[in-house]
């Protein structure tokens, strides 16, 4: 700092100033040139290797073989633009509606469908049929205008997973109903995800409204007093808090297909799943794809959604994303046949019903839980 004072007192010649001036110009040039160069290179690469961008949630796993087949057929690579959990992904897309960050959006579920097809102009109507021979399970289709903008791709029910080994060690009978979850015997054992950010969280909230009607808020208040933990995302809850992943909670809000996932991801160290499903807690969740309005590669986007209904994509879904195919008659892998059951008792809360009340539920839920 002493040397500063001395330099400030001397009056440098114009040469030093010129250096500063040149530097500023160089900085500006570097910045402009840099970004200009980027644009050139990306548009250049588009000609040789076309790209279609798929906006989706973080935990989506691209089925690589199917993606390779798509590349062979169309000459386009699929680039995944992950944007947080499903709720966060959709909001980000809505804020960018008209100037989207990709061509196709995938992962909008029943509980978010009305938001996606609202007045913001997020999607271009497009809802193809599967290729010859296949048909989409009718129960998964959305009614009216929603159905014209969103195509069902898969179904993966949201269920509370139970670490059966943990309960066996403690000599405790695992909870069987939603009522059990507010029982003090199961205090501090459950971790769920927030309906604000996470789509399984919102589906589960809708399920509890379906079960308890007007009294749903009481149930959540009791759940809160019983020590439920809320995490912002599925990753947070399942990968760090669930006892099977090394955490301290033996009950976690996850999917009906999480048990086979444990076997597949264990790479041979597990021959049986560690978790079972709590049937009474399950809520049907359908995932939809839509074409983003203002997409840069709209034509490729259409082809991608069509391809998502083809056998290559549908058959790959169970073991990459642990969901059930939406196209009827798609063969299931053995792991699914053995350990993944779509519970008969799954609640189904219609998208229109969730859509009408969602914002109120979330507001109410936040004032209880946060």
């Amino acid at each position: 700092m002493t040397d500063h004072t001395t330099t400030r007192r001397s009056i440098p010649g114009s040469r030093r100033l010129a250096v500063v001036g040149v530097l500023v110009v160089a900085l500006a040039a570097a910045a402009c040139g840099g970004s200009g160069g980027r644009n050139d290179s990306s548009s250049g690469s588009d000609d040789t290797d076309r790209v279609v961008r798929l906006v989706t949630y973080d935990s989506f796993a691209l089925p690589e073989d199917a993606a390779a087949e798509f590349h062979e057929k169309t000459g386009a690579r699929i680039e995944v633009v992950a944007a947080g959990d499903a709720g966060a992904m959709l909001t980000k897309a809505l804020l960018a509606a008209g100037a989207p960050e990709g061509d196709v959006i995938f992962g909008i579920d029943d509980s978010l469908a009305t938001r996606a097809t609202g007045p913001d102009g997020l999607l271009t109507p497009f809802s193809p049929q599967p290729p010859a021979g296949g048909a989409i399970d009718d129960r998964l289709r959305l009614p009216g205008e929603m159905g014209e903008q969103l195509t069902p791709i898969d179904r993966g029910d949201v269920c509370i997973n139970v670490d059966s080994g943990w309960f066996a060690d403690k000599g405790l009978v695992p909870p069987g109903t939603l009522d059990d979850l507010v029982d003090p015997r199961y205090r501090d054992l459950l971790v769920v995800t927030s309906p604000v950010t996470s789509s399984p969280g919102l589906a589960f909230l809708a399920g509890t409204v379906d079960e308890y009607g007007e009294r749903w808020a009481d149930w959540w208040e009791r759940l809160r007093s019983n020590g439920v933990r809320v995490r912002p995302s599925w990753d947070d809850a399942y990968n760090t808090d669930y006892t099977v992943s090394g955490g301290d909670r033996p009950l976690v809000l996850s999917y009906a297909s999480s048990p086979p996932a444990e076997v597949v991801f264990s790479e041979g160290t597990r021959s049986e799943p560690a978790s079972t499903i709590m049937g009474d807690s399950c809520v049907q969740q359908v995932e939809y794809a839509g074409l983003l309005a203002g997409a840069e590669h709209e034509d490729l986007g259409r082809k991608l959604i069509e391809f998502m209904l083809s056998p290559a994509w549908q058959e790959a879904l169970p073991l990459t994303n642990f969901v059930f195919p939406a196209v009827t008659g798609t063969p299931l892998p053995t792991e699914f046949q053995r350990w993944a059951v779509l519970p008969e008792s799954s609640r189904h809360v219609p998208a229109t019903e969730v859509g009408a009340e969602r914002d109120e539920w979330i507001e109410r839920w936040r004032s209880i839980m946060e």
């Binding site: 700092m1 500063h4 330099t7 400030r8 009056i11 440098p12 030093r16 100033l17 500063v20 500023v24 900085l27 500006a28 570097a30 910045a31 402009c32 840099g34 970004s35 644009n39 906006v55 973080d58 935990s59 796993a61 691209l62 680039e79 995944v80 633009v81 992950a82 947080g84 709720g87 966060a88 959709l90 909001t91 980000k92 809505l94 804020l95 960018a96 509606a97 008209g98 100037a99 960050e101 938001r115 927030s194 604000v196 950010t197 933990r229 809320v230 995490r231 912002p232 995302s233 990753d235 947070d236 399942y238 990968n239 760090t240 992943s245 914002d359 979330i362 936040r366 004032s367 946060e370």
Partner: protein, 540 residues
């Protein structure tokens, strides 16, 4: 200063540009709050203001800021005292080191604390206020050390001598004479720290785990998670009011603050007892704890692999976008985007800020001065959300424009540069410019050939500061950065939001890169830090 200086058209244009640049996002946000489906409506206002949660959140936000400020003061004032009072080997190094957490981007400090107080750290305190409090204390200690330290440095040693002669013990002299003399400085520092904690965003997003929240975070949650833009806009309005009230408080303290004294007898002396050496040791340990520990933790976690061994894997993987980490581009791309963006932001801030600083220096406290404070007052999330809303409006959709992020960063950075340059300009002896005028130099020539060269150091320091602030900017950038062009802080948040994945190690490595970048720039322009904290000199 020359009172009859001619008008400065360039400076006026620059100040007007900043005013417009702030007004655009604020108007866009307010428009969204008060207009629903094209008609004026107070629904959103009523909905948010009648919600009990809103007021709980306001209370929690203010309470955490008070607790954070008090905790920081409890450590910061004694620390400033010891560092000002005693001369010991390495004192200036310790003083500089205390600045380190302050210049770290909030997201980086957040990840550092998360690596210690998060999953697989020493103890998992996610979703409690403790990590946030620790981060706030680490971050803001520098403000007390600088501001109170400078005031203590400026004290006349004679007042202590007098007190001792009249029979006061050293402790009593400190408590009854010296501390009251620097009370305005303590107050000013406390208000600055309070303001930082009130609008703290990056550290809470990283450390809050979704359950710890403040107004600023709630704006972000409502806008980007709940898709309640009108609600977010109302909260942003409340936040603006809170900040303006705090700034008014700051102005009162700043007026009463003592000016640092130059020259004369030095107050600092060598410690001469075991007790005094213990105080020095405690100060060194405290500074080490807030400086070395977080960075060491970052480095260690960037090297720790999932199987518990150590290696360079996370660093090697920075070159490629890896599946399952939530990033579309490679982390190195984010570094490149960040540097380019910060350079552009610095260039914009310089082109606007230097002429504006001239105008500000001419009339401190005048209209120009107040306009340049406004970007500090409007919270970063409000600027980000507002720019996004404004950019998406017809006729031209600007959301894809590359310069949107640099423009937002420049807006956040320009007050820092203005402060650094204006302070230096004010210290120029008017006689120099007068002599040049007498010799026949016109106003433009005087500025270019006389004044500008004399404040060159401050311009460079201000630009360095603007660069670092742009590099670490998170609150506005997180709204504006496109998925294929994330800056480093945005990339770190994306990686950190998936604690179970390999992305955590990469986030740590990226944080280290950002520390190195900021460190390198600030090593060159250390002086710039003063502009941040409002103190003017460090005579060590």
């Amino acid at each position: 200063m020359n009172r009859r200086r001619p008008d400065q058209p360039v400076g006026r244009v620059a100040v007007a540009a900043v005013a417009v640049a702030v007004a655009v996002p604020v108007v866009a946000v307010l428009g969204r709050a008060l207009r629903i489906d094209g008609a004026w409506s107070l629904d959103a206002l009523e909905r948010i203001l009648s919600n009990g949660r809103t007021w709980r959140l306001v209370a929690v936000t203010v309470a955490q800021a008070i607790v954070s400020t008090a905790s920081t003061a409890a450590i910061g004032v004694p620390l400033a005292w010891v560092l000002a009072r005693f001369r010991f080997p390495g004192r200036s190094a310790v003083r500089t080191a205390a600045m380190v957490p302050f210049v770290l981007p909030s997201v980086v400090l957040g990840s550092a604390i998360a690596s210690i107080l998060g999953p697989r750290g020493l103890v998992d305190l996610r979703a409690t206020w403790w990590p946030v409090l620790v981060a706030h204390v680490c971050f803001n200690l520098a403000v007390f050390v600088r501001v109170v330290g400078a005031a203590l440095d400026g004290l006349d040693p004679a007042i202590e001598d007098v007190a001792r002669t009249l029979g006061a013990t050293p402790w009593k002299a400190a408590r009854r004479v010296m501390l009251p003399a620097v009370a305005p400085a303590i107050g000013a520092a406390a208000v600055v720290v309070f303001l930082f904690c009130l609008t703290s965003f990056g550290v809470i997003v990283i450390l809050g785990g979704g359950s710890v929240s403040t107004l600023e975070v709630e704006i972000w949650v409502r806008a980007t998670r709940q898709f309640d833009l009108s609600g977010a806009a109302v909260l942003a309005g409340i936040q603006v009011l809170a900040v303006v009230a705090t700034l008014a408080l700051h102005a009162r303290f700043a007026r009463r603050s003592v000016r640092a004294r130059r020259g004369g007898r030095r107050w600092a002396r060598r410690p001469d007892s075991v007790g005094e050496w213990t105080q020095v040791l405690a100060a060194v340990v405290a500074v080490g704890a807030v400086t070395v520990v977080p960075i060491a933790a970052l480095v260690e976690r960037s090297l720790r692999l999932s199987d518990g061994t150590h290696g360079l894997d996370h660093w090697r993987h920075l070159g490629a976008a890896s599946a399952g980490t939530g990033l579309t581009v490679s982390p190195w791309d984010a570094v490149r985007v960040s540097i380019l963006s910060a350079l552009a932001a610095t260039a914009i801030a310089g082109l606007v800020g230097v002429p504006a600083a001239r105008l500000v220096a001419r009339r401190p406290g005048g209209a120009a001065d107040r306009v340049m404070l406004v970007p500090l007052g409007v919270s970063a999330t409000t600027i980000g959300l507002g720019l996004l809303l404004a950019a998406g409006r017809p006729p031209v959709d600007l959301r894809r424009a590359w310069w949107l992020v640099p423009a937002a960063q420049a807006l956040v950075a320009v007050p820092l540069l203005v402060r650094a340059v204006a302070t230096a300009l004010r210290e120029l002896p008017p006689s120099v410019s007068d002599v040049a005028a007498t010799l026949g130099a016109g106003p433009a020539r005087r500025w270019w050939r006389v004044e500008l060269p004399m404040v060159r150091g401050a311009v460079v320091a201000g630009a360095g500061l603007a660069f670092v602030a742009s590099l670490g900017e998170f609150g506005a950038t997180v709204f504006l950065a496109r998925a294929d062009r994330p800056t480093v802080p945005v990339a770190i948040e994306r990686l950190m939001s998936r604690p179970g994945s390999a992305g955590f190690g990469q986030a740590m490595a990226l944080s280290c890169v950002l520390v190195l970048l900021c460190g390198a720039v600030l090593a060159v322009v250390d002086r710039g830090v003063d502009a941040f904290t409002g103190s003017r000199s460090d005579p060590s």
